[in-house]
Symmetry: C2
C-alpha cells in the first residue's frame, strides 16, 4: 500500500475552517487507499503568542521549560485535525513527538532527530488510515520534551519520509520554489526541479522555503521532496538528486536573507584568550555564525560576523558575560543588513559569476560589506534599503 | 528531607501574575529545605475555551483526540510556572502526565490512575527542588494520552501524595470545607476537620470541593489532605481518618448538587431487552447513574435516574441509538432539578434524621421527587427554585 508523508505549515492550518479543508483533501487521498502520515505546525500565530507571554516574564527562559510550552501549539493542531477526520469517518490518530517515537539529541530548543521508529507506523496503520504527527517536536533520552528549532516541522516531515522510505510533500502558501522571491521580482520563474545542493544553498541563504537541515536529511536518504501550495492544483517544485534532473541551469536563483543580525566586536588589541572565549561560548550555546571577517590594525581588533536573528538574546548574554572579564570589549548588534545570494550548481563550471555580480552592484552604486563564496553560491551583505534593488538587478543580469 | 505535594486550581493560576505569586510562595517553601511536588490545573478558562472550539466542530469528538487537546492546557501552566521559578533561581522541572509516570486505565476522558513510579521523583529531587506536574492527565499502556475526568487535578495530587507517602495540600479560592455553601447559607461554619467518609459523601453529592475518587484514594492510603485558600493565612480544613478526629458531630453538612441531569424514559410496556440494552450501554460508556426509580403500571414503564450533566451528550447519543431499535421509546432529559443532601457520620447512631428532613420540607411546602439514603447521608431531589430554601431550612434544623 502506498505510504505518503504530507506536511502542512502554520498558515494552512491557521483556523478550524482551514483545517477542515485539509481534512477534506486528506479524506479523498485516504479513500484512494493511501496510508497517510500528516505533519502539522502550530495554528497560525500560536507560537508567536506563546513566545510573547514568555517574553513578558523573562528574556532568558529556561530552555527545557520553553520546549514544554511551545510544543503545545502543534499538539493542539494534531488534535483538531484528528477530531475532524474521525468525525468524517476517517480513522485517524494524533501523535505527539514522543508518541511518534521521534528521538532527538542536543539543546532543548535546537535538537536534532537521532532516531525514528518506523515499525511503530507499520503497526498503527493496521488500525488507522491517517496518522497525524506534531511537527517541530521530539524527546531526548532523559524523556524530556525537545523542539527542533526553526523550520522544525519540515525536518520532522522529511525525517519521517526518510524513515518510511517514501516521498515527502510539503505544503505552504507559496507555489514551490522560485528563482527569486516573486514579491521582490514579479518576473521570477517557478522552478520545476531543483537539486538538493541548490535547495540547501537557498535555504541556508534565506530563500525561506525549506531549512537546510531538512534538505540535508533528504539528500542523505535520497528522499524526493515536493514543495507545493496547499489545496491548489498549481504545479510545485520537486527537490531531488541532481542526477535525476535533466536540464541543468548555471544559475537557478537569487535569495535574500533578512532574518540575520550583524555583530561587530571591537577590542584595543588582538587577544587570543578573548577570541578563544568568544568562539568557545558560541560553540557551547550552539550558535552558528555565518560570514566572518576580522581586521587587526593599529586601532586594535575588529571582528564581524553574521548570524540568525533568533539567537539575539543568547549572543547578548554571551557578550555581557565576556565584558565582565574584558571591560574594554565593545560590541554592537545590528539588523539593518540583508544578505543577497546568487545560487546555481552550474556556477562551478561557469567563469566570471563573481565578477559579474561585483560589477552589477558597483554600477548600481550599491555598497556591500562582506562577501562569501561556496561551490555553488556567492553572497553579499548589503544595506537593507538596497536589498530589493540588488535582487532585481541580479535577476535581470542572470535572466531568471 | 520533608516532601510535600501542593495543588493549585484553575482560578489560582488564571494569569501569569497569579502564577508569579504562587512561584514566590513556592520559593519560600523550597528555601526552607522542602522537596515540593506541585500539581497545577489549566489556566482559568483554558479548558472551557478548548471545549468551545471543539463544540464548533462536532458534538461527539473522538475521545482520544480530545484528551490530546485538553491536556495542552495543563502543559502550558507547568511550563509557565517552571519558567518563572527557574528565572528566580529555584531549580524546577515541568512534567507532563507521561513524564511524571502517571499510568492510567479506562476510557480516554475518564481514566483512573493505575500506577505511579515514586522512584522517579526520588531521582529527580537529586537535581531539582520543585517538580511541577500537569494535573488531570496520564497515559495508558498503549502510550496514549488520557485525562482523569472532572476534578482530575485533585486526583493527580492525592495519588502523588499517596505514592510519595506524604500529605497533600489542595489550594483553591475557598477557605476549606463548610457545613454548607456559604453563598447559600452565610452562617455556615468552616470545619477544622472532616473524615474521609463525610468528605466523600459531600463530594459525591455536589459540595464541589473535592471529587469522590480523590478522597477514596486518600482514604485507602491514609493520606491527610489539607483544603485551604491559595496564598492566604486563613485556616483551612483537614480531611483525615475519622479515628484521628476528636470531636464528632452527628450532622456535619448540607450539600447541593446542581450539576446533574434528570433522565426519564417511557415505554408502553416493561421490556427486559430494553432495560438490558439501556444499562449495557451506560456501562460501556462508563456513565454512572445515581438515583434510580422505576414505575411499571397500566400505562407502561417509567424509569427515572439522575447523573452528572457532563455526560449529557453521551446519554443523548445512547438513547437516539436505542430509539432506532425501540421506536416507541420516549425519553426526556431535564436539568431543572437539584439534589439536596444531609451528611454526617454520626447519622447512623442518630434516629429520626430522615423523618426530621421529611417534615422540614413538607412544612415548607417543598415537594421532593426522589430520595436515597446511605450510611451517612440522605438525599432529596427538589425543584431548582426550592433548592436554596431547602438548604437554609436544613442548616437551621441541624444547627450547622
Amino acid at each position: 500500500m502506498k505510504r505518503s508523508i504530507l506536511k502542512f505549515g502554520g498558515t494552512s492550518v491557521s483556523s478550524l475552517e482551514k483545517i477542515k479543508n485539509i481534512a477534506d483533501y486528506l479524506k479523498d487521498r485516504a479513500k484512494q487507499g493511501e496510508q497517510l502520515i500528516v505533519v502539522v505546525s502550530a495554528m497560525g500565530k500560536t507560537t508567536d503568542e506563546l513566545m510573547a507571554s514568555v517574553n513578558s516574564i523573562t528574556s532568558s527562559p529556561n530552555e527545557q521549560d520553553l520546549a514544554v510550552l511551545l510544543t503545545t501549539g502543534e499538539q493542539q493542531t494534531i488534535s483538531y485535525l484528528s477530531i475532524i477526520l474521525n468525525d468524517m469517518g476517517v480513522k485517524s490518530k494524533p501523535l505527539t513527538g514522543y508518541q511518534a517515537g521521534i528521538e532527538t539529541v542536543g539543546h532543548h530548543l535546537k535538537s536534532k532527530i537521532s532516531k525514528i521508529n518506523s515499525e511503530l507506523f507499520d503497526q498503527l496503520f493496521n488500525t488507522y488510515n491517517v496518522l497525524i504527527v506534531a511537527g517541530f517536536q521530539g524527546f531526548n533520552t532523559d524523556n524530556e520534551i525537545t523542539t527542533l528549532g526553526r523550520g522544525g516541522s519540515d525536518t520532522t516531515a522529511v525525517a519521517l519520509a526518510a524513515a518510511n522510505k517514501c516521498s515527502c510533500e510539503i505544503y505552504t502558501d507559496v507555489t514551490g520554489v522560485y528563482s527569486t522571491d516573486p514579491r521582490i521580482y514579479p518576473q521570477a520563474n517557478r522552478l520545476d526541479e531543483v537539486s538538493y545542493e541548490e535547495m540547501m544553498e537557498m535555504s541556508a541563504l534565506g530563500a525561506g522555503v525549506l531549512v537546510t537541515r531538512s534538505v540535508e536529511i533528504a539528500k542523505n536518504h535520497n528522499t524526493p521532496i515536493y514543495l507545493g501550495k496547499a489545496l491548489s492544483d498549481e504545479k510545485g517544485t520537486w527537490v531531488m538528486s541532481k542526477l535525476d534532473i535533466l536540464e541543468k541551469k548555471a544559475i537557478t536563483g537569487v535569495a535574500l536573507d533578512k532574518d540575520m543580525i550583524h555583530v561587530t566586536l571591537n577590542y584595543p588589541h588582538y587577544d587570543t584568550h578573548l577570541m578563544d572565549a568568544t568562539f568557545n561560548n558560541l560553540e557551547q550555546e550552539e550558535i552558528n555564525v555565518d560570514m566572518i571577517s576580522q581586521i587587526v590594525n593599529n586601532e586594535g581588533l575588529q571582528l564581524s560576523f553574521t548570524m540568525k536573528d533568533t539567537e539575539e538574546n543568547q549572543i547578548q548574554k554571551i557578550f555581557y558575560r565576556l565584558k565582565e572579564d574584558y571591560p574594554d570589549l565593545y560590541f554592537k548588534i545590528e539588523n539593518r543588513f540583508v544578505k543577497v545570494s546568487v545560487i546555481g550548481s552550474g556556477m562551478r563550471d561557469m567563469t566570471g559569476v563573481a565578477s559579474k555580480v561585483f560589477r552589477t552592484l558597483i554600477k548600481a552604486d550599491i555598497p556591500f560589506y562582506q562577501v562569501t563564496t561556496s561551490e555553488i553560491s556567492i553572497s553579499y551583505v548589503v544595506d537593507e534599503k538596497n536589498a530589493n534593488d540588488a535582487a532585481h538587478l541580479l535577476c535581470e543580469q542572470f535572466e531568471l
